[in-house]
Symmetry: C2
Subunit: 328 residues, 2 copies
């Protein structure tokens, strides 16, 4: 069990921001007048699909791995991931010149497995239903004297993801804009927790919301019940990046007292949001990266006369799935 | 005939930059480490697909139309365009509260016609092979007391497009980066001319190059021969935005003494570039907006150890065509 003392703070996010400078992309804040007109509010998009490795995950991975490299604590890096964290860790380990072994589900999108190997990592696949990725990673860590960089439940990972919120809020402030709500695509809750910490420090009136796939809304339900709920299923959503079974322990400790209500969207609504991002914003967004946009486009998160930050958290979608979505 | 005195200057681009501020998007400068590694140089992408109306055309349209509005010289705006200029003019006229009549080829992509109507414009279609869009526009201008805003051969339009070059070079300088070459998707030459003027003023050693579809490389051939050459065909390329038959008179006067050699790419190379932008950069780029990227990806514009600015000039591609390209 990790004690409360291990929770990251805003100071850790500021330190992470210095660490990622020159390594991560400072993604722009984009605004679409068409989107604003459709929802009747002002939407500020934070396109993490434009981030190095195609998702926000590089932020946390580099923050954690650059610290491990500096301390000399690990001979290699192990991670388990449905794909985006895998790419983030592989790329960060490559920069740090540490070997990376990534444990990935055998049904992960081909592009994510291929890209992870392209970053020089060794990929070990497992059966998402029958095997435990945690057990496999622990065994590899022991055999290879490697440090595990978990996908969300680690202070350095959360602090790294928090830089996304720091940038979003700082850039909005530079435009003279106050943000009412931030909608975040949520799985284990690391990105959400980092953004919640940044918002608390920089813009306390801003409410941060989780967006999740229907059937995988463990975070929304946990926020209501006050304890970490589990999803009934562990597969079956188009959002391959958002299938964590339950909130992280650390992330839930951070998020529970800080978040507004969470929202869930259907696969059909996610497909609509991906198509909308293609047609109107000209960005490639993967299913798991489009749930927050879907939550706003459907009106589940009310945008009327509000200013809402939306994180488009990733863009690693297979060409075949995108073609299918575009054919309608 | 337009005299040399009508040629825009860098001061006109600076004035245009003030005029478009708060109306156009100051598009970011994006860099992909994967793209850099592939071509062996440093590539700075200027994604005008993220511009208002989905292409750079809004810049020139708003510069011209906001001036017309201020002078009270026109009761309406007429334009002829294969699509992107149409959307730029329609959106600019809507902001200026002037009626817009757009003359568009009947075979323009459905999304471009629909979007033009969405911006409140009246669309008049014509047969690209049998009819003259110039004649139709002139007749409408006379009947409706309207000013024609041409797609490229006008000082205010060229100056507006030049703001794209001004931003590209200024942002690169802010990064401490000197640009060796800028590759520009080229049809009538307005964007190229504006960027050439900006480069001459801000970074005289930077060479600006046209990129065109094979069979529609009138600009490249004109730069070689020293006179305005014509294309043999007026249809048949995937690049619907780049089918102008010959360089503009004004644009050629600006470009001829200022440009490096021009390059042509095949439809297959353009498809590859669109797919690359989807997979690696996570941007939606239309065929006509991808020719400059294609010219660099194919090695036709050598990138080895060079720093090259590439303008991704538009993203208005039909979903059906994108799906076909992604299916491969």
């Amino acid at each position: 069990m990790v004690g409360a003392s291990a929770l990251p703070t805003f100071a850790d996010i500021e330190a992470a921001a210095k660490r990622i400078e020159g390594f991560a992309v400072e993604t722009p804040l984009l605004e679409s007048r068409k989107l604003n007109a459709i929802v009747g509010g002002r939407i500020l998009l934070k396109p993490e699909c434009l981030q190095r490795t195609g998702s926000f995950k590089f932020r946390g991975a580099w923050n954690a791995i650059s610290k491990l490299k500096k301390s000399g604590a690990a001979k290699a890096i192990v991670a388990f991931s449905s794909g985006n964290h895998a790419q983030g860790v592989a790329a960060a380990a490559q920069i740090a010149r540490l070997p990376a072994i990534i444990v990935m589900p055998s049904d992960a999108p081909a592009i994510k497995i291929a890209n992870t190997r392209d970053y020089g990592a060794e990929v070990v696949t497992y059966d998402r239903v029958k095997e435990s990725r945690e057990d496999i990673a622990a065994l590899i860590a022991k055999e290879r004297h490697a440090a595990i960089v978990p996908p969300f439940d680690h202070p350095d990972v959360i602090a790294g993801q928090g830089t996304c919120g720091l940038e979003l809020i700082s850039k909005a402030k530079a435009l003279g804009t106050d943000i009412d709500d931030i909608a975040v695509c949520c799985s284990g809750g690391g990105l959400t927790a980092g953004i919640a910490l940044a918002a608390e420090a920089l813009s306390p009136r801003t409410r941060v919301h989780t967006a999740e796939p229907e059937g995988f809304d463990d975070y929304a339900r946990s926020l209501v019940s006050g304890k970490r709920e589990r999803n009934a299923a562990n597969a079956g959503s188009i959002c391959d990046a958002l299938l964590s079974p339950t909130p992280g322990e650390l992330t839930f400790a951070i998020n529970q007292p800080r978040l507004g209500p969470g929202y869930a969207v259907s696969d059909a609504e996610v497909r609509e949001a991906i198509r909308f991002a293609f047609e109107t914003v000209k960005l490639v967004v993967e299913p798991g990266g489009a749930v927050a946009l879907a939550a706003v486009l459907t009106g589940k998160i009310p945008a009327n006369n509000r200013t809402i930050g939306i994180v488009l958290s990733g863009g690693n979608i297979d060409a075949a799935l995108m073609a299918e979505i575009l054919r309608g």
